[in-house]
Symmetry: D2
Subunit: 264 residues, 4 copies
């Protein structure tokens, strides 16, 4: 199959300049390593742990920025949608619409996203078994849209903890759709810091490498030039300046995995 694609960016949009800076750095790092690249950022963090968490630029300004990134950097883009009403506008501005994990069973959202014809990346809920994804997929397929990606982002494991079950990757791959490993959110510690969500940044490259060795189509990683000052998900982000080395390393495992597919 195709070489690995990185879906990467700064969790939430901060400004046009910031988005361009990250997209440019990531696009170059991916091109240098022979990887595909999709810029990821959120215009609205609709389910922050607490009300005081920053939510981002909002839909109007946010979609303008996404559109501009695509135009200037020339890379496809991804953002997440939280309501059926937003889907049409979002589909104008980005290439991939992402269904958040908590919302992966909301029928109206899946159908509205599917109807735009855009690529739909469904994050498997923390509460969902991988073998239950076909029920979710068929809600999108019901619109005639088969441009679907499936993402593993960890399963609930007691309170304030997730575990990434790597059986999930080949299980979801049996649907025939490309599978993405979210190396950032699978090492979250939900609510683990009281008013915000903690994380274990050091394990994100571990998750990414293990997934790539199994032959995933893509890896989702959030990155920031200064993660400890990022407005959300900082504790599990990878510093931007470490990304080129990480991507190069992952591409070696990707080449091996794509030449020797792991089948179940």
């Amino acid at each position: 199959d195709l070489p690995l694609t990185l879906i990467a960016g700064p969790c939430q949009l901060e400004s046009l300049d910031h988005a361009l800076m990250i997209a440019e750095a990531m696009a170059k790092a991916c091109a240098d390593a022979g990887a595909g690249y999709v810029f990821k950022a959120s215009y609205d963090k609709a389910n922050r742990t607490s009300l005081s968490g920053m939510r981002g630029l909002g839909i109007d300004e946010g979609l303008r920025v996404m559109d501009e990134v695509r135009a200037e950097i020339g890379c496809p883009t991804l953002t997440d949608v939280h309501s059926p009403e937003h889907c049409a506008a979002v589909a104008q501005a980005v290439d991939v619409m992402q269904i958040p994990a908590f919302l992966c069973r909301q029928t109206d959202l899946l159908v509205a996203a599917g109807e735009t014809g855009a690529v739909v990346n469904i994050k498997k809920g923390q509460f969902l078994a991988p073998w239950d994804m076909p029920n979710v997929i068929s809600k999108v397929e019901s619109t005639g849209n088969e441009n679907i990606l499936l993402t593993e982002r960890g399963a609930s494991f007691g309170y304030n903890a997730l575990v990434a079950d790597f059986r999930s990757l080949p299980t979801m791959a049996k649907t025939g759709y490309p599978v993405i490993m979210d190396a950032t959110h699978s090492v979250q510690q939900p609510g683990g810091q009281g008013g915000s969500t903690g994380g274990q940044r050091e394990f994100a490259p571990v998750m990414a490498r293990a997934a790539v060795s199994l032959g995933v189509a893509g890896v989702f990683i959030e990155t920031h030039e200064d993660p400890d000052r990022a407005p959300s998900d900082g504790p599990n982000m990878i510093p931007l300046d470490q990304m080129p080395a990480l991507i190069k390393s992952l591409m070696q495992f990707d080449a091996l995995a794509k030449a020797d597919p792991c089948r179940i």
Copy 2:
């Protein structure tokens, strides 16, 4: 404190006659036993396991039925809301708006529900620790609305399984808000039947009794005159004709628990 309240009804609305039949039977059973009663039904099942699952009457017809039940039977009513846009209309037709567990971190929905001034019943997400509920609560409180109920409905426990953690009840009670035990959904087996969700009906009275003995404000139970033919959640519903005996039994434990509160 006050005697136990039952929140009970047929999962999804089937017709006005059906809703009235159940509400009347339940209101009588509760009155006979000295329990409070709130009629519960959904106008739209927005996150069915699969697309082919029946979704109910829809918002217009559904809210008319809810309004009619309240008028005819004289009991307060509860339904669940799935989008911020629906909150205002729903608040006209029912007394309690319920936030579904999967949506318990969706800030806009919590704020919109709070702004109506109606009572808001928040179901704790299957992925959420009980001590993280204050973050959720504060989203509703931010609107000035402090008419809040908190419901335990089980936590993810591996795949296709939930476990009801009874530490959750006194933990959530420390917020000062009334705590409800959802005896029906905490014995769900999510996705456990392939295209639909299974359940363990026999354990619902077990969950209810254990919770009542700990002094909860209310118990949430779905009931149907013929659970195996109910359009959703049949496998974990209690047959309607068994409810009077169950309520009478629960009221004995309730009297004991309210006289001898269980504090942590």
Copy 3:
């Protein structure tokens, strides 16, 4: 059925005087409340979190103390066994031999315990489903011994955490053997304090009451006159002077539950 029995004592034996003091206080509290009583203590803590944890009096001195408690106080006694070789000696000194949860699948231990003819209390492993207990039971039954008790003490729930699944109680009761709720160990936080195991003492009465309301045969509670100075399991023990009120409260729920059995 019969009124509730308390299985209670100081986790590990400290001295004869200490054991007698606790047994006497507990026997009186149980008699006053109409409850049965079994003195519990360990002569050897064979699986402490760390090597430096105190292990107790050892088998020779320990069994002498157990024998003396039984003679002086006149109550049945329980201790746990860790190797098949110890079973015969232990059976001379106590009435009930307890199989530790970690060891509940060790065939030789179960058979050796069964062969003594003593009552065997099997703690369900943290890793075992309640419906898998019949396989464990049959190992004891193979010796012709059907004096068996089954104890719930929590199931693994992520790392460093347990959850008490109350479906386990009626599920195990279907075997026909008496079921005990271990209110102390089900609120452990295994390894949660680094070199020792933490606990949530405040939840032990919650676990006990919920279980009693479901009609269990007995409750297992560890107690100490000064839990914070107990050599093991202090964080989840109930202070001895709080036991009389707790037992009285539990007996009220027990009377109700035994008059109105909860069946599945």
Copy 4:
């Protein structure tokens, strides 16, 4: 570091001829691929799901076979021990003594194994957090023995299920001891077949590859010429004739991982 070692064999000993056949085939496959090899088999399955499960050759005959395999094939050997009393004899007959996961906190067993001076392979309990292994390790180290291996074999994940948490591998590696991935038992479904334990054989190579890509010292795999007729753990064993290709594939990932270590 050193190239990957395979710890592999037939779960339980069936006969000398059978053991030699497997050891010879595996030793050749490993030598051909440049991998290290340790023959693994059990002389006694002391914790079978049910009493009627076959337990193997027993200690006397079993150790004779292990000794003979070592002499004839010239490879190191591993077996598991279940009681402190067996340790001295076992240490005469094999090179590596394995502590079963259920017994990983049994102090006397760890100390007795350590005192033999043999290599001790500790399987992390299904109920234990990886960061709690130092407490376990120090029990062996207390004997002066620092020939220790640490093995991941899955963590409890609800009932009848395990999940392999790959964060466990680098976490345990921080102790400085070699880490082994048990690709066979981490895909068990404990008790999942009623009277025996099920498994998901198809995922064992997935677990092995992901672990090797993270740079583990070894992989533990059970194999049999006819897994469906093996006396234990058949459902998760790899057929013997598939092992050479699997090992060759793993060695490619091993070379990459050892050249580019994954650190946390």
